[in-house]
């Protein structure tokens, strides 16, 4: 069909405009710094507890995809295959698989001080759950004994959370997180009806952080959980000190961890700088029986010693020995793990 003169006159300009728009969009994509990313860790863990050795290959991928400047969708999953002795006098191993989401959440950064999180998110209680559970970060293959207190069994919640930074200056940073969770028995999104909050004070010059957490389970038998934490990473000494105390209605406990480095500079990639010995001491106290909080049935003391090595190219080997003392029996726990951490954009570009 022939084009009218008016139409033919407009077409080149429209086409030019379209080309310029597409070009600028493409150019923006090429130079943008907010491409979606895939990160995570892949590893192999062995654990010998009370004479039984289990083997577990593990993958924990993480996806973070921004939508515009203010929205971020992020998720982390765990794929774990465990091979454990059959037991009951039978020889050989049996395998079991686990595939679970740690979180799948949408974040809306409302302003400089508040971010609204909705979906399935890590319960903000203490520090371990949100900061140290990634396999490429944690110093030990096993979490602390008090992990179950305040994290409402699953460690994740379904609902909404408001969090952010109240203020951040050269001398002090103050941040907060408060959440409300619904009960969910869904296999992938398991959560308990609960509410809680956490507040942190960080003194950057002293590199000292203190915080307090509170959680309340709002289903079945209602329970309160309280927790405090203290982290210190002195600038002049290559050591990181982390500690947490958690209290529930049937038990309480604490853990303290010191990670040493043989070189002061964090970015030092020399052979010596890769070695980091870690010592963790933890203790739990049972005040009344409760099978749901995940803590040992009797008072327990445990010392963990790890010797971790950071190889180049994001490869790390963890090896640890733990001795657990309890009235139900003392035991030795050996664990080793090799991990590779990956981090790349979802598509190639400049």
């Amino acid at each position: 069909m022939p084009l009218s003169p008016r139409c033919s006159n407009r077409l080149p300009r429209t086409a030019l405009g379209l080309l310029l728009s597409v070009g600028s969009l493409f150019s923006a994509c090429l130079h943008a710094q907010n491409a979606p990313l895939i990160s995570g860790g892949i590893g192999f863990i062995t654990n010998t507890n009370g004479g039984n050795t289990t083997y577990a290959p593990i993958i924990a991928p993480l996806l973070a995809a921004p939508i515009g400047d203010r929205i971020l969708v992020e998720s982390r999953a765990t794929l774990l295959e465990t091979y454990a002795p059959r037991g009951d006098g039978q020889s050989g191993y049996k395998g079991s698989s686990f595939l679970g989401l740690s979180y799948l959440q949408g974040d809306y950064m409302m302003n400089a001080h508040a971010t609204l999180v909705a979906g399935y998110f890590l319960t903000p209680f203490g520090t371990y759950n949100e900061r140290l559970t990634p396999i490429w970060i944690g110093n030990f293959e096993s979490g602390p004994l008090v992990y179950g207190l305040g994290t409402m069994s699953t460690g994740s919640s379904v609902g909404g959370m408001l969090r952010g930074s109240v203020l951040s200056t050269q001398h002090v940073s103050v941040d907060y997180a408060g959440y409300l969770s619904a009960a969910s028995t869904n296999e992938q999104f398991g959560a308990q009806r609960s509410a809680g909050a956490r507040g942190d004070l960080y003194f950057p010059e002293a590199r000292l952080e203190v915080g307090a957490s509170f959680g309340r389970r709002l289903q079945d038998v209602h329970q309160n959980f309280e927790g405090t934490h203290l982290w210190w990473q002195p600038e002049k000494i290559p050591v990181k000190f982390r500690s947490e105390f958690a209290h529930g209605e049937h038990s309480y406990g604490y853990w303290m961890e010191s990670e040493f480095r043989l070189k002061r500079q964090e970015e030092d990639r020399s052979v010596i700088a890769g070695i980091s010995p870690v010592l963790r001491w933890q203790q739990t106290f049972r005040t009344s029986p409760d099978a749901s909080d995940g803590l040992p049935a009797a008072d327990t003391k445990r010392v963990d010693f790890a010797l971790n090595y950071h190889f180049p190219h994001e490869i790390r080997i963890n090896s640890s020995y733990s001795r657990q003392f309890s009235s139900t029996g003392d035991r030795n726990i050996w664990a080793t793990g090799i991990f590779y951490r990956f981090l790349f954009p979802t598509w190639r570009g400049k």
Partner: protein, 102 residues
């Protein structure tokens, strides 16, 4: 035809204005002023770099070692993720981003 002429004249005027804005008259005074401005800008960038580096050292290393390297295409995404995960302030996020991508 007349419309095209008007467009051409407008485009020419736009170019002249653009050129005039980009290339002001060169005088000794304006040269020294420009040099001072460049120095100040460089100083400001360096200060921002230092602030970002300090924030990076003080915040990120609390939990993990810094990655050996990553594509600049994901630096903003990483910072958004860490803003949520580590409760970084918006200012800290921007300064660390500036340090990673000067």
């Amino acid at each position: 035809m007349r419309l095209r002429t008007v467009h051409s004249v407008l485009v020419a005027i736009a170019f002249v204005l653009l050129f005039a804005a980009e290339a002001p008259a060169q005088t000794p005074d304006s040269n020294s002023k420009k040099s001072a401005q460049a120095k100040a800008s460089q100083q400001s960038t360096t200060n921002q770099q230092n602030a970002g580096e300090q924030k990076f050292a003080r915040n990120c290393s609390r939990c993990h070692r810094s990655p050996e390297g990553f594509s600049p295409r994901i630096s903003s995404t990483i910072l958004k993720h860490m803003r949520i995960r580590a409760s970084l302030s918006e200012k800290d996020e921007q300064e660390i981003l500036h340090f990673l991508n000067p």
